[in-house]
């Protein structure tokens, strides 16, 4: 296992080299202790080796967006897809954290779908508010990307010992409010997490941040506290969001929060503009403000390492 980790670390360093101007966040955590304890109680033998793996987060592709600063969000999404294909470690899968489309149009969903399929990788989706704009309030998105999901599109799955939870906080939004999970989803989440031991690493993804980044612009989730209270007993929790088209991060106890860049257009930092509308940057600056997030999971000492890289890198 130690050798595995050494190998992973070497690969990881390669990633860092590749990331260039991208930002790197690596989290140290107390995960190893709890895993060791559980394993020791279960059986007096070494914990099973979980091979390292990576997955990629894409977000806010806004296929169909064609205004300043980006006349063609399809083209920049294609660049992001090319970056995924060129990654030195082939990811196990992709997660898309919402706003796949600009206006929930079928051709927008279809173009995104075709480009993602060209990677040959499984893709896990959750909707953003831009994916809920059809007359049926998200049926088009769910029919294409939400097969097997519950309610407005939530679900969970396990991958190599990590529990992934996909939450929807863009359905049935309340006047004056921010993102919203709703009682039905929270009830499902409780039952879903109750079945997992505290040593299970958990990755939660949702479109709007699950912590309040900036309330005046609705950048938060009204009932997130209830979800987070269910997650606090776990030794390693990583929360991945989109929506705000820029990197923001926070660590609270054993929960690490991170938002990804968009592949379509940047938005202003909280409170630095009259509104959260697209940041109209010059054409030569745009690629440096769009990007993807590569996540590396190594079972053991390190928490998930998140490597953000831009389309300029």
């Amino acid at each position: 296992m130690f050798d595995d980790q050494r190998g992973a670390r070497r690969e990881f360093l390669k990633c860092m080299a590749w990331a260039g101007t991208g930002a790197l966040f690596a989290f140290e955590g107390g995960v190893a202790g709890s895993i060791g304890l559980d394993a020791a109680i279960a059986a007096p033998k070494a914990p099973p080796a979980v091979p390292p793996f990576t997955f990629v987060q894409l977000s806010d592709s806004h296929i169909g967006f064609n205004k300043p600063p980006n006349a063609d969000a399809r083209a920049t999404f294609a660049e992001a897809i090319a970056k995924v294909k060129a990654l030195p470690i082939r990811p196990d899968f992709i997660i898309h954290t919402g706003d796949v489309s600009q206006l929930s149009r079928d051709d927008e969903f279809d173009d995104a779908d075709q480009m993602l399929k060209s990677t040959g990788l499984p893709v896990f989706f959750i909707p953003g508010e831009h994916d809920m704009l059809d007359a049926d309030g998200g049926k088009g998105f769910l029919a294409r990307f939400g097969k097997g999901s519950k309610g407005a599109g939530w679900y969970s799955f396990d991958h190599r010992g990590v529990h992934f939870v996909a939450l929807v906080n863009v359905a049935d939004l309340k006047p004056g409010g921010m993102g919203n999970l709703g009682p039905e989803q929270l009830k499902w989440l409780k039952a879903d997490l109750d079945a997992r031991s505290s040593s299970t690493p958990v990755v939660v993804f949702a479109h709007i941040p699950l912590w309040t980044v900036y309330a005046d612009w609705g950048w938060g989730t009204d009932d997130a506290a209830e979800a987070l209270s269910l997650l606090r007993r776990f030794g390693s929790v990583t929360v991945l969001n989109g929506h705000i088209h820029q990197i923001a991060q926070k660590v609270e106890g054993r929960i690490a929060f991170h938002t990804a860049r968009s592949t379509a257009f940047p938005q202003p930092a909280p409170g630095t503009a009259p509104s959260p509308g697209p940041l109209k940057v010059a054409a030569d600056q745009l690629p440096g403000m769009l990007g993807i997030t590569d996540a590396l999971f190594v079972r053991g000492k390190d928490r998930i390492a998140l490597i953000d890289s831009t389309l300029a890198a």
Partner: protein, 118 residues
């Protein structure tokens, strides 16, 4: 420090601007009580007349001047626009007196109110 100062300045300006806007609305609704049509512009993620008073029978038109789509949805369901992309409009005729609180279902922090009275 510089950043904090800029934010305070911005908020002060925003407060001043909304105070002016509210005064103008109040004056307009007194000056033109019989108007049968009114326009609410959506700009910078706000309804530019957050409170608008009209007479029964008036038609209100919302125009999206933002480069991001918005919607206009009555909290109690009496009207609901389709998604309004840049330049799109939505109109609704208020037949009876009452208060209609509405919001953008995509960006729910955007709220407004139509007061209909004779």
């Amino acid at each position: 420090m510089h950043h904090a100062f800029r934010m305070i300045t911005f908020q002060a300006l925003a407060i001043a601007a909304s105070a002016v806007a509210m005064t103008v609305v109040a004056v307009e609704s007194r000056a033109a009580p019989a108007s049968s049509a009114a326009v609410v512009h959506i700009d910078n993620f706000t309804f530019n007349q957050p409170v608008l008073t009209v007479h029964p029978g008036a038609t209100v038109t919302w125009v999206n001047d933002d480069d991001i789509p918005h919607t206009v949805v009555d909290e109690n369901g009496s009207f609901r626009s389709k998604v309004l992309d840049t330049g799109d409009r939505f109109s609704f005729t208020f037949a009876k007196a009452g208060q209609f609180e509405y919001f953008c279902s995509i960006h729910p922090h955007m709220t407004g109110k139509i007061i209909v009275k004779a």
